[in-house]
């Protein structure tokens, strides 16, 4: 039997008619003298034949259903804050976080964003929409992977570097800062940040987005977060997933698993993010260049479940 194991794959390939000529010759010669392999071949053949099945067509409602959802979704993208869906929730949470850092940098008096709390929110308003109808004005936009209405990768990166480069002027009005650093106006419909939003780990999400938190790297210490703390040159991706991307090598993922019905945000390497996107695990990716030690973890309830 053991010596027959070398024919295992050949037998299977033979069933599919893809065995090369010389291998086929070799196999046939062996089959002539080995009844075990002949039996095994018959079994593999049976599996191959019996699995073949004419499956029913998809229900006629499938395609119209998909198109209806798509159009609904696209409509919502143009009027982001018209309905309180998950995009609204995500954008709201991000904006809250942005307000938080703006306040911090604003009150820091010459302190740069980098030094604030050891943490910098590189994404800024990556999840926030541009004004309805207006194409991305201002900053760069070359290789945009973001969908219409969202800030492009280039834009969010440039925002991040802008944040890092210029120390915020002390006492500058939040609205003025916002206008200056973001090429898009902040949506008026968002709730104003609470008084305690100065620390990232106490930023509260609006009610419809709970539970969610943005942590600074220090407050994550002690948790098994793997790559939450990025090394220099690494990128982070925002993952908004309907399903948990379990097929990705565990080393590339935080062991922090969102519970059922939650959308997770993890930091991952740029390469992994690209692979995830290509494999269809992600709806969207936003990139920002975090510095060493920076981390972002955000869990938002998925309205879908």
């Amino acid at each position: 039997m053991a010596k027959c194991d070398q024919y295992n794959e050949m037998l299977s390939a033979y069933v599919d008619g893809v065995l090369g000529r010389s291998d086929a010759k070799k196999l046939k010669k062996h089959l002539d003298s080995c009844s075990e392999c002949r039996k095994y071949l018959a079994l593999l053949q049976t599996i191959h034949t019996d699995l073949r099945e004419d499956l029913p067509d998809p229900p006629e409602t499938l395609a119209p259903g998909i198109m209806m959802k798509l159009k609904g979704e696209n409509g919502r993208k143009k009027w982001y804050f018209g309905s309180f869906g998950r995009w609204t929730a995500i954008a709201a949470v991000l904006c809250l976080a942005v307000f938080g850092i703006v306040r911090l940098t604003g009150s820091g008096g010459g302190e740069t964003a980098d030094t604030v709390n050891g943490y910098r929110m590189a994404s800024t308003a990556a999840g926030a929409p541009t004004a309805a109808g207006s194409s991305s004005g201002g900053a760069a936009s070359a290789d945009s992977t973001a969908e219409e209405g969202y800030l492009s990768v280039a834009e969010s990166c440039s925002l991040a570097t802008a944040d890092a480069a210029e120390p915020a002027a002390a006492g500058e009005d939040r609205a003025a800062l916002t206008d200056k650093k973001m090429p898009v106006p902040m949506p008026a419909a968002l709730p104003a940040p609470e008084a305690d939003t100065e620390l990232f780990d106490t930023v509260e999400a609006p009610a419809e987005a709970a539970p969610s938190s943005v942590y600074d790297a220090a407050s994550l210490r002690g948790y098994d977060l793997g790559r939450a703390a990025l090394d220099e040159g690494e990128w982070y991706a925002v993952c908004i997933c309907y399903t948990l991307p379990e097929r990705i090598a565990p080393a590339d993922w935080l062991p922090l698993t969102p519970g059922e019905g939650e959308i997770g945000r993890w930091s991952v390497s740029r390469e992994t993010a690209d692979a995830l996107m290509a494999e269809g695990h992600l709806d969207e990716i936003y990139f920002g260049d975090l510095q060493a030690g920076e981390a972002l973890v955000l869990l938002i309830a998925d309205e879908k479940e």
Partner: protein, 203 residues
């Protein structure tokens, strides 16, 4: 739809013509639905997964590179979503894995002899049902490759495109999945042992 037509449609969708996406749905919904259907084993989940697959494809259409065709791309998405779905379900306390993946590559020791046994139509159907039932018990990855190869009849090259693995890997994975199924079927006694013993009595 030819590759060129497909590229045109994709371009149109990316340029903002959402309606054009329907052509892609209509052209590929069958392939997507069949994968989801055989992976999940029920129409309702297959419907939801198919829908999810296309919505996801729409959203990430800009990342589609076109090297291996839209069909492969969307089938890979359907396959990944199906596997994620099954694992999620399993974690919720669904089915218990019945197969030890370690001995997957080994052929069963007591082989039934299906070669000379005259089978009645009823016996044929029983065997077929047992084979199909066995497929549902395989680990997700193995189930997937047999759905693609044996149920749907994709070629090795197509499977290589869909799963983005080398041809040699396709070959060995198909074998391992079939071997798993074979040993499952013999272990569970789905194939009448008399067929096997007859041969050992010497024919």
């Amino acid at each position: 739809m030819t590759r060129e037509e497909e590229a045109k449609v994709i371009r149109a969708v990316l340029d903002g013509n959402t309606n054009a996406f329907e052509d892609l749905v209509l052209a590929h919904q069958k392939a997507v639905y069949h994968i989801a259907l055989k992976m999940t084993g029920n129409e309702e989940d297959a419907f939801d997964l198919s829908q999810e697959t296309f919505l996801k494809a729409f959203r990430s259409l800009s990342t589609f590179r076109g090297e291996s065709g839209f069909r492969s791309w969307i089938c890979r998405m359907a396959a990944n979503l199906s596997i994620d779905f099954l694992r999620k379900k399993q974690r919720r306390g669904g089915e218990v894995r019945s197969l030890d993946e370690e001995d997957e590559a080994h052929r069963p020791t007591l082989l039934p002899d299906l070669r000379y046994e005259p089978q009645t139509a009823l016996e044929r159907r029983e065997i077929r049902d047992a084979v199909r039932a066995g497929l549902r018990k395989l680990p997700e990855e193995q189930r997937l490759i047999l759905v693609l190869r044996d149920v749907e009849g994709y070629s090795y090259a197509e499977i290589s495109d869909i799963l983005r693995i080398e041809l040699g890997t396709v070959k060995s994975r198909i074998y391992r999945a079939r071997a798993s199924l074979a040993s499952l079927l013999t272990k569970e006694g789905n194939f009448s042992p008399k067929a096997a013993s007859k041969d050992s009595e010497g024919r």
